[in-house]
Point group: C3
Chain length 352, copies 3
Amino acid sequence: MSIQGLRASELAEMFSADFLGEDILITGVASFHSAQSNQIVFLANQKLLSALGESKAKVVVVKNTEGLPSDRSYLIFPDPALLFARIANYFHPLPASLKKVHASAVIAENVAIPADVEIGPNVVIEAGVILSKGVQIKAGTFIGANSEIGANTILMPRVVVYSDTKIGERCLIHSGAVIGSDGFGNAWAIDHWERIPQIGRVVIGDSVEIGANTTIDRGALDDTVIESGVRLDNLIQIAHNVKIGKNTAIAACTGIAGSAEIGAHCLIGGGVLIAGHLKVADKVTILAGSGVPSGITESGIYASGVPVVPHGTWLKNMVHFRKLDELAKKVKSLEKTVVNQQLNQGEKRDTN
Amino acid sequence: MSIQGLRASELAEMFSADFLGEDILITGVASFHSAQSNQIVFLANQKLLSALGESKAKVVVVKNTEGLPSDRSYLIFPDPALLFARIANYFHPLPASLKKVHASAVIAENVAIPADVEIGPNVVIEAGVILSKGVQIKAGTFIGANSEIGANTILMPRVVVYSDTKIGERCLIHSGAVIGSDGFGNAWAIDHWERIPQIGRVVIGDSVEIGANTTIDRGALDDTVIESGVRLDNLIQIAHNVKIGKNTAIAACTGIAGSAEIGAHCLIGGGVLIAGHLKVADKVTILAGSGVPSGITESGIYASGVPVVPHGTWLKNMVHFRKLDELAKKVKSLEKTVVNQQLNQGEKRDTN
Amino acid sequence: MSIQGLRASELAEMFSADFLGEDILITGVASFHSAQSNQIVFLANQKLLSALGESKAKVVVVKNTEGLPSDRSYLIFPDPALLFARIANYFHPLPASLKKVHASAVIAENVAIPADVEIGPNVVIEAGVILSKGVQIKAGTFIGANSEIGANTILMPRVVVYSDTKIGERCLIHSGAVIGSDGFGNAWAIDHWERIPQIGRVVIGDSVEIGANTTIDRGALDDTVIESGVRLDNLIQIAHNVKIGKNTAIAACTGIAGSAEIGAHCLIGGGVLIAGHLKVADKVTILAGSGVPSGITESGIYASGVPVVPHGTWLKNMVHFRKLDELAKKVKSLEKTVVNQQLNQGEKRDTN
């Protein structure tokens, strides 16, 4: 990429930050460790002050300059990580559309291709698909019949979008993601499973990002819904008829079972399992490795992940964990006995 | 799809249900919420009676009509969900073969293609592959050398089938599934891992469904076996030499380690981890998020998933959980002390 | 494959094993169960002696011949599983390069293709990619701009390698793996997420194996690093800026969060969750299903997976588990009471 370098003061002005110090030409972003003198870094945390000391970076994004060395220049902004992200986006924007349809793409006849759309090699687009302006469909991606891709959305290589899926604007979907596959619907018939057709869709809002190899099943009768601004990491499973509210972010390896409704502005850690047919309120944080078997009605932080201990300790703990109920009963019985003893002692004291 | 509408009484006759009420033309299936008056719905649960009240649907599949409003028509069947699935399948059958080989498919010369087979764009089929009648291989799917695909099986877009895999009839395999990849076989040699060649196959029975991005490894020496009627959801890992018995259904994000033998008719929840070299009996239900480190010899329901609590509670609980053995020892010691006190008191009483 | 058969004594010589018994022609490897008389088997465990008894195999790889039947021949080697792996590799080597570029591959003009490289059907290789000698890129794999693939590395069908990725020599990467996708980097901006560009790379050493549908994200600013000899199973998530040390082996369904540094020679079980921004020491074993929320500084075996119990027991246990802190407090209070009683009794005894 040949993005133009900018003076530190120009970056400050562009993003409404204050500027202090020598006005150096900035050509990119970097970490403390790897920065060259013309790359900008950020300090999110005073603990990293020593790392700054060892860095070649001359310009730093900070919250304030209290206690900071005077041999650096500073962009001052209330949220340094956010300003740094914006500067990084200036130097490393999402790829621009090549505005070109590769000759090897297999596109159904009735599909209209706006002039600024990019369609890569070996892409397959079935009949009735609607592509909005600025869409980029990278190599090998498949889009099933009658799906809609909103303006400026990017599908990375080898994404699969099943038929009738609706994806909003400015989404970014990573390789291997499968969107609109059948929900896991099976009806037992005496001696075998019968398929329950999955005729709902997946409907995805705007500015949604979906990680590599994540799967989102279509609804059984109604739709699976991912609202605008949602961020899904890699290897996540979203089952049929799940609804995920606006701006909720979910880390990798999490699974959400059918018809669960996750609120807006939730933060869900990695490897979380959420059962089906329940509601999680808005602004709920669920820490990594937790299990959510029933609904959560109040905003707050929740957890159930179990941390490792040395194996020997674990073996001993597990003996009791497997019969925790017995342990609790023992304690209850002890309490009774001890209370009786106190009563006895009291009586004896009285009768003494 | 332009499936023909049918009168409610015709549907009842087709599927051996009783019929009661006005004989309306039915054009499809729907949920209570989304139904138009000519779409059929089902009532699996008396709790949903109020939802029925608000639905535009005029025809309902039910178990019996006790307490149900008289302004609807009813298809009466012992298992309403099953009948509804069958009616849904009538209106939304699996896709029919296009009976066409796309020009972009790369197919080895010696592969015979029955006339009613569909092979989509960019499919790759290697030498020695056997395709039975009615097979559908959707866009971008890869089938390795000498694999066999049984009659009427459908491979959705971008499935990968490694060489020598055997897949039965009427299977449905979703996008991103990888079948026949190498098992995780490594032998340690003083200072590095050496590869243990994986020369077994994956053998899949009839009527098996496999979810998106699920992986099934080939056997090390003998085969990995998925018996007929098995249902696998998305993002499941089946390691080398696993055997899964007939009609077992497994929810998403579950991992089964090498050489585990899972019985028939099991129901395994999402995010379950099953260790290797063990047997799980037939008709075992394992709830979501459980760990199965050793064999299960008796049919029944098993669980070990840990439910979330508010983070503050969790932090306090974890302090004790990490030293549960100590807690149990304290209780044991208390028991002794209290028993001794009782003996002492008894003695004292005796000596008083 | 038409690998030449060898006499048992020739195999022994080839791999520096001792040989004892009748010198039979060996044509392949097998399990006890499936072996024909000219296939070699191995005995890793005296418990399997009865299985050997029922096997048709005439030649066995063993550690020593103590107590073994005299009607078989033996290759004697300190680590029978390792020798067997080597013999299996002789009969079933990794595929050799076809030294051919398929006509359907889409390769950027400036990419040099060494004469012994294989590029399969529908492969896409972008500009600036460097392919070393002996590389095999199987059908449908995508390699993004400026990536490097080291000598004799094999990418199986439908792998995705994002731009700027560096993969070493003799690696084996299975289908569906996605390498170099964006890390999960989001900055919150008052009412929406903003993307944090992920401009680091994935750098993979030599002799690394990566399983099907595993995902490895590129670094945010610096690189994600997988050192030489690492073995990753299927469906593993490696987040941005993770570092995995030499020869560490990780089983399926494990997730490692951002910036975690895993040591060398670790063994990590399936379904393990490792939090971000921590260090795991060298030679740490973590059992399946464990959660690692903070660093591990000492080599050893660690666990936190919870084993299943019958559902009824589980329900009873969970009641107490959710309020383990209360149980612990009861025990503490009981201890106090009992100690006071002892003091009282003591006093009374004194005052009696």
